[in-house]
Amino acid sequence: MATAELANGVTRLRLSPGEHRRLARRARLRRELTGWMFLGPMFSFFLVFLVLPVCGTAWWSSRAGSIFGGTKFVGLDNFTSLPGVVGAGSAIANTMIFAGISVPLILVGALAVALLLAKIVHGGAVYRFLVYFPVLVPGVVAALIWLFLTNVDFGLFNTVLKAFGAMPVTWLGADHALVVLAILDVWRNVGYWAMFFVAAIIGLPTELYQAAELDGASPFARFRHLTLPLMRRIIFFAVIVSTIWGLQVFDTALVLTNGGPGTATTTVIYRVWLFVFASNNKIGTAAAISLVLIVAILALTLVQMRVLRSRRGIE
């Protein structure tokens, strides 16, 4: 409306209501068009390569056959038969155990590193660089590096054990493989969340800490009763997001352990990949498990948005 008035500032007084409406409509139309000119390109990719595939997963999950052609509609069969499909249950269990081990270790480790980093006066940049470096290592390469750590004969872990006179361990055996995979993830992600927490800690109000110190609160008490409560939201956000990331583990499992021994480290996405490209005629099952994963991730996302909306969230 304002635009219409401005554009016709001279003739404004003689504008009939109908004409005014027409001009306002035209200005709005122009604004809409400009908006789409800016948003359209990105939005079309978003629609075609993200929204459409998410819907496509639901569609494929109701079909049976091979991805290379010839599928038929089977309703909800893929979901009802899911518990009985070889490998499906273990993939979901493995993924949850993996996230259950790695997420707490990542966040506790990151918080500890962040508390140390936020307080030191000199040399912080060097530590930050080194702690963050593993974050930038592609999963495939990280797994390759860990082959050299976990090798039974010459791996770094067993070399250290032997130096202390302990027995060498079969790190990638059935008992340990999933745990080792989770620890690898800790190594790769601690730096990321540590930097995230450092930023949060530096932003905390210093007056509260000075007051607590004057009152004689011990460092631990300050952490327990100030830092933790003040960072509640940040930590909650980190828990959700790192869990979502943990559920996606694939490349390290493929390269470090080949999903094995047996199916000990075959994760959800790993299993989906196997169903699609290694064993034929499992396309529907693959889509069904994918959908379970997507729904889990969406649920976590929504919980996170809901809980955090009250303060920052969406305007």
């Binding site: 809409e32 990105m42 595939p53």
Partner: protein, 293 residues
């Protein structure tokens, strides 16, 4: 503080010195802890670097040599001349570079529309972006593969470059950045008759340059590290990206620790160089998470 200490016969100066000493001691303890942690984090890199400079028998010998002298360069020679490593590296840099360049423009434009232009459906679209933000490409391989192969793009650079453009993170970040800009400049420009395109190009883009660099770093590294989609989207050797090629080294041709270690070291060079130059922006990657809220 000093006054309360007086009755105990400690002068203000002593007291200050004691506090200083205590502070120095905790600082020292923090350094010790951090040094230990970073040593543990970095040791794996050194161990692999060490292995890459050893020949096949040296790698397996115990106790391991901790200083690689005389160095053996055979692993690197084999990696560079007998495998497709250089091609993979080129493909990775090319694809990541293309995606980053395209995303910078797509996302900043989308962010501008989401932040500044009154249009119907904007809120719904923004919500959809927030909700689908965390859905990974790995969970979408079934429909995505059939879609891209239906378009006849499987096994082409297009297959590697187009799907990652859908990621809404950049648009969300740019919206946040642009919302934070002062309004005056923009309204002044509007009064001067500058078009929306002019405002975007001449006012907004220069102002959000720091944000664009951070975004570029995020997109480039994520793209450089991506694995599952390039793995299934390409079949010919010439189109393999670094991660896929390195995984193939591991999967085929038996155990070859020499080449594996050399490929791990070489893979880290581009990211290491970028990181060293753009440390600040890289560390802001973590902050992007906070903005994401």
């Amino acid at each position: 503080m000093a006054d309360t200490a007086l009755p105990m016969n400690i002068g203000a100066e002593d007291h200050a010195r004691l506090r200083r000493r205590k502070r120095r001691r905790t600082e020292l303890a923090r350094h010790a802890a951090l040094a230990l942690i970073t040593f543990v984090m970095v040791a794996p890199f050194y161990y692999v670097f060490l292995a890459s400079l050893k020949n096949a028998t040296e790698i397996f010998s115990y106790p391991p040599k901790l200083v690689p002298f005389p160095p053996y360069f055979g692993n690197y020679e084999k990696l560079l001349w007998d495998t497709g490593f250089l091609r993979w590296m080129f493909n990775s840099l090319f694809v990541a570079g293309s995606v980053t360049t395209l995303k910078i423009f797509l996302d900043s434009m989308a962010g501008y529309a989401l932040a500044k232009i009154e249009m119907t459906g904007k809120r719904v679209i923004f919500m959809a972006m927030l909700i689908l933000l965390m859905v990974p490409i790995g969970a979408l391989i079934v429909p995505l593969w059939s879609l891209v192969s239906g378009l006849g793009l499987i096994d082409s650079y297009w297959a590697l470059i187009l799907p990652p453009l859908a990621n809404p993170l950049g648009a969300i970040l740019m919206r946040q950045f642009i919302l934070g800009l002062p309004k005056d400049l923009e309204s002044a420009a509007r009064l001067d008759g500058l078009s929306e395109l002019g405002i975007y190009w001449r006012i907004v883009l220069p102002l959000i340059k720091p944000g664009l660099v951070v975004l570029a770093v995020i997109i480039f590294t994520d793209q450089f590290m991506s694995f599952i989609w390039p793995l299934i989207a390409t079949t010919s050797d010439d189109l393999q990206v670094l991660t896929v090629g390195v995984a193939a080294l591991r999967a085929h041709g038996g155990a070859n620790y020499g080449i594996w270690s050399a490929s791990a070291v070489m893979s880290l060079i581009p990211v290491g160089v970028f990181f060293f130059v753009l440390q600040r922006q890289f560390l802001a990657r973590s902050l992007a998470g906070a903005l994401k809220q």
